[in-house]
Symmetry: C2
Subunit: 469 residues, 2 copies
């Protein structure tokens, strides 16, 4: 067979025939420890290639060097599901001529599969690979666990380059992405910094406000009517949502409830719940900590899923469609239950939907946990700066001063009220917050559009405008 | 989420919108124990649907009832990789108006993926499935092990129906085919007869001629220069090739050679070789016996692969491309090393390429094991009745009276001769056979074309003509 091993990134880029104006992609499983994107971009820039579309499942502060490539017009356009504040602030300040397109973790694979966002060359950082390109995130010094977000890139890109710092003999048996999709394999010294790839451990909050909200959230789940054998659950890695998972676990163990699966970005807390019998399986598109990586490597009940299986609306079904409950965060919530996770209250980009909208749309009960205010800014507003997840997909908002239920769910409100939960109208929560913080001066809407937010089905949902100074 | 469970096959067929003139597909992992194809066809016939193209990875004697559906024009066209004599004889006698198209196990997924043979509805018999269609062949009363051949059908068919006799709760964690591809799930009493799905055990030959050939084949491998650490190997489930594997195993254990992988249809003999350290992994597109099914279920080093990864020429690489040695059978071989596995010497269809051509093309050394004659008919002829695998891909023919090496491989001939192997010109083997059997009267070439054989790359390779009486 044709050897796929290529000595350098630059050679692989040339072999792929990458030209100005094409589209390239990256996955984000190495998170803030990723070396790969920056190194590939530097090589591309050195080759004089310009005007690329960069399709990245997420962009972290580690990718701030992209600023230079944007200024030099190596990158003309960005499609991503998440952008942390490092690059986000620059985008909000008007760094790019073309607006960033924000998708969801389900919308991205949908649009790749449907050919809406075609990829010419996918670069896949792989913690382990063999010379034919079979690769896995479970093994090696840069192990990140699941490679779920890289599957659509591998399957649909015209050319696929696997970059690895742990080349093993053919065949890598327990491969995530098979050789059938891979054109070239580039061995490198390191694909990332393990300290940035996964956190050592994820920590639940010790903040008393966070603990109050977490306990309330667990009580909402308990009385939702969904917490019974077969229960399915997703939570993020935020401190308060993790604390809610801890309280939920105590309830499930005490009441001997055997759930079916937990999904999503997986933390050691979900692994513990699996091992203690709260769930029969984990459906894992991304590992957040070392315990999750160790578990997906060794426990067959901890299953890697592709981004398509996680959340794509183009899939005939996806894991998010089976969720009973999802716990989510927010930077802002408005009185129509719309949620913002893209910008801060001043409208500066510091996040993105990720799987937020996908799970909110799929789960029977989608719950936001958020304090009434942060840094003396109210979280519940008349209108969010950016609609990331539409209010129609948000059922409950849990704060430290009460629980608001979407008026579209009157039965749920009644049920929770009967159970003694502090049900409050969301307008009232807004007023409580404003009594404490005062009504903030709303920063003026900025100038031209710097980013567009697409729903998971590809519909325009909102825009983000340039910050005014 | 939308429930996919459908109460009956008939309802599922209707929901898929199957219409006359469309294309349907089946996989053959249940082999001669399969109930599914016949039952689906009966329902389709009852619905009055006609003129279908039937795309089956293989057809066995269990599928002989297809004759009636062909006569009644429910099936107008057949695409398959293999057809046993039960239906094969009828086709050879002129049952169908349109010629059968024979592909290889690699060519079939290639042509499905490229849209050359589009599938409207794929019917996937699944030994275990969950209500969302996640399915596996490893578990359940009808366990067949790998579901490798069903992957392209699931991925590329417009509609996919999973039929199972072992419905389990969502999520089936260790699924082979994920829910993202599945439209409907039909629970049934039984998808097949376990006695026909896998043989209890596969048996090596006790025939003295077979044993002579097998030992010679093992010696050829030993002296080929390929038998060293990292060695990779495939063999079929025929008695003589299995015996060759047994002799090979003894050599490998004695000489402490650690191979890399064995592939293909997997038998208990290859499982034993894995467990005794001859190989580090098995790459399994199909299980032939209970021991293989048990192994793929329990041993992570025994890996299920899709038909694409097994052999597709449209894949960026496939397992067959990595093979050192493959042992294959033949019904006829000619003096140009062309091999026939489609028909008997009289030109009657009783087989097909399966993975024959794919592995022969991919392996560094492709070896045919065949006796000089069977039932007083010589196996080595001036011209095979049907070219299944072209002579350019066949390196060595092992018989009980000597070993013929393709003249395109003079170095190999020299090396084997130096090692004391009985190297004979293939014309001489033909003469030896004819001295014993006499020169048989060649049955006349028949009438119109009843089948076309396509190479793995989709090129016309040969035709099969109607039998004359």
């Amino acid at each position: 067979m044709a050897m796929k091993i290529v000595a350098s990134l630059r050679e692989a880029i040339s072999l792929c025939g990458l030209k100005s104006g094409m589209s390239i992609s990256f996955h984000h499983h190495l998170r803030n420890g990723d070396y790969t994107l920056n190194r590939v971009m530097d090589e591309i820039a050195a080759l004089g290639i310009r005007d690329l579309t960069l399709n990245a499942s997420s962009l972290f502060d580690a990718h701030a060097p992209l600023r230079e490539h944007i200024k030099n017009r190596v990158v003309r356009k960005i499609n991503t599901d998440y952008m942390s504040a490092g690059l986000g602030r620059s985008i909000s300040e008007g760094l790019m001529d073309e607006s960033v397109e924000f998708r969801t973790h389900g919308g991205r694979p949908r649009d790749i599969a449907l050919g809406i966002t075609p990829i010419d060359v996918a670069f896949i950082a792989a913690p382990t690979a063999d010379p034919a390109g079979n690769c896995s995130g479970k093994y090696g010094p840069s192990a990140c666990g699941s490679l779920g977000y890289a599957f659509p890139d591998a399957m649909y890109a015209k050319k696929v380059v696997v970059i690895t710092d742990n080349l093993v003999p053919y065949p890598l048996t327990d491969a995530s992405i098979p050789e059938i999709y891979v054109d070239y394999v580039v061995p490198v010294d390191a694909i990332g910094d393990p300290r940035g790839i996964v956190s050592g451990t994820t920590k639940i909050t010790r903040d008393p406000v966070g603990l109050v909200m977490a306990e309330t959230a667990a009580r909402v789940i308990r009385h939702s009517g969904l917490l019974k054998d077969g229960f399915s659950f997703q939570t993020g890695a935020g401190g308060a949502t993790l604390a809610a998972a801890k309280f939920l676990k105590e309830i499930m163990l005490r009441e001997k409830i055997r759930g079916s699966f937990a999904s999503g970005g997986v933390t050691g807390y979900l692994v513990d719940m699996l091992n203690e019998g709260c769930f029969t399986s984990l459906m894992d598109v991304q590992c957040f900590d070392l315990k999750a990586v160790e578990s997906i490597r060794t426990n067959p009940a901890h299953h890697e899923i592709s981004a398509m299986q996680y959340a794509s609306p183009a899939a005939k079904s996806a894991v998010v469609d089976h969720l009973d409950v999802v716990l989510l965060g927010a930077t802002e919530i408005d009185t129509d239950f719309n949620v913002n996770v893209h910008t801060d209250s001043a409208g500066c980009i510091m996040g993105g939907s990720g799987g937020h909208s996908d799970t909110a749309a799929g789960a029977k009960l989608s719950m936001i946990i958020a304090p009434l205010f942060r840094a003396r800014l109210p979280i519940i507003t008349g209108r969010v700066r950016c609609i990331s997840t539409p209010g129609r997909d948000v059922d409950v908002v849990v704060t430290q001063r009460g629980v608001a239920v979407n008026p579209a769910k009157p039965d749920l409100a009644l049920r929770l009220k009967d159970a003694g939960l502090p049900i409050v109208d969301i307008h009232e929560l807004k007023q409580i917050a404003e009594r404490i913080t005062g009504v903030p001066a709303v920063p003026p809407e900025g100038g031209r559009v710097v980013a567009r937010v697409l729903s998971r089905d590809g519909e325009p949902l909102d825009v983000i405008r340039q910050l005014t100074r």
